[in-house]
Amino acid sequence: MLVDLALPVNKVRITNDQIKRYSGQINLKKISITGQKKIIDSKILIIGLGGLGTPALTYLARSGVGFFGIADPDKVSISNLHRQILYDQKDLKKSKAEVSKKKILLTNPKIKIKIFKSKITKNNIDKIAKDYDVILDGTDSFISKLTISDYCKKNKKILICSAINKFLGHLFVFNFKEKQKKSPCLRCFMPKAPSNDNNDCESEGIVGSIAGVMGVLMCNETIKEILNFKESLCGKILIIDLEKTTFRTINLHKNCPNHL
């Protein structure tokens, strides 16, 4: 059953254990019990359990998200370990989705996690994503990213999308659920996938820290959208360069034929 983020919060139960566990967040006026209930009740799909997906999942789980879908067809390899923080030496050759579920349940066994081991395509995305309100894109393919953006736009989902390379990170928030946010889509930035759809982080080079920074920011922006914070990144792109240690935002407006 689809859990609507707008479900009246008085219908969501919060236990004493949850009040203690999330007291750090509940004490924030911007979150409080009301916000924490919304976080607990949210259903989030994370596509790609690599450098971005693993920190995003870790922090969202610890923030109290109650329902996850996690999708990745790959197995853990030794070159993943420097940035994909849910995996250890003993996890080599195991399914990323299975290992991630197991590790997250160690932090809170009550979290509900559904795993998907298929690569996301136009043909299977609806089956995988339909029950989730917020989708996090941590994939490493331009084609997958555009497929996910097109799907979220068509189905009025909230999409938190990031991409990393070398010392660089890009972060996008597309809130297609709230019409008044007039959200652009990924095609407004990148109309088509560039011909070189080879984003193998390891051959191009990547610092582990950029994956951590961007994955944690994906969690932060997810929480802000769930709680409908006024200060949204929707309509902007955050560009981070960890070599220069610069953070800047630029404006992105609806401009592609998808919106006409």
Partner: protein, 66 residues
């Protein structure tokens, strides 16, 4: 005239549009977005968007790693 390109001063002999500018720099426009004065320029506006003196331009290369 002079623009600021990726944080550095860049002289331009004459007014040109973004398409011409990328050709001059030998940059494949399918692999980049152009940020002009803090906003992304739609791809289909490259041929009609002229660069002006003191414009701040950033060439943002698409990245797709995860």
């Amino acid at each position: 005239m002079e623009i600021q390109l990726n944080g550095k001063a860049y002289p331009l002999d004459k007014e040109c549009n973004i398409d011409d500018f990328l050709t001059k720099l030998s940059i494949d426009k399918t692999k980049v977005a152009i940020e002009l004065n803090k906003s992304v320029v739609p791809k289909d506006k490259y041929s009609v968007t002229k660069l002006a003196n003191k414009d701040v331009v950033e060439i943002v290369t698409f990245i797709g790693g995860g």
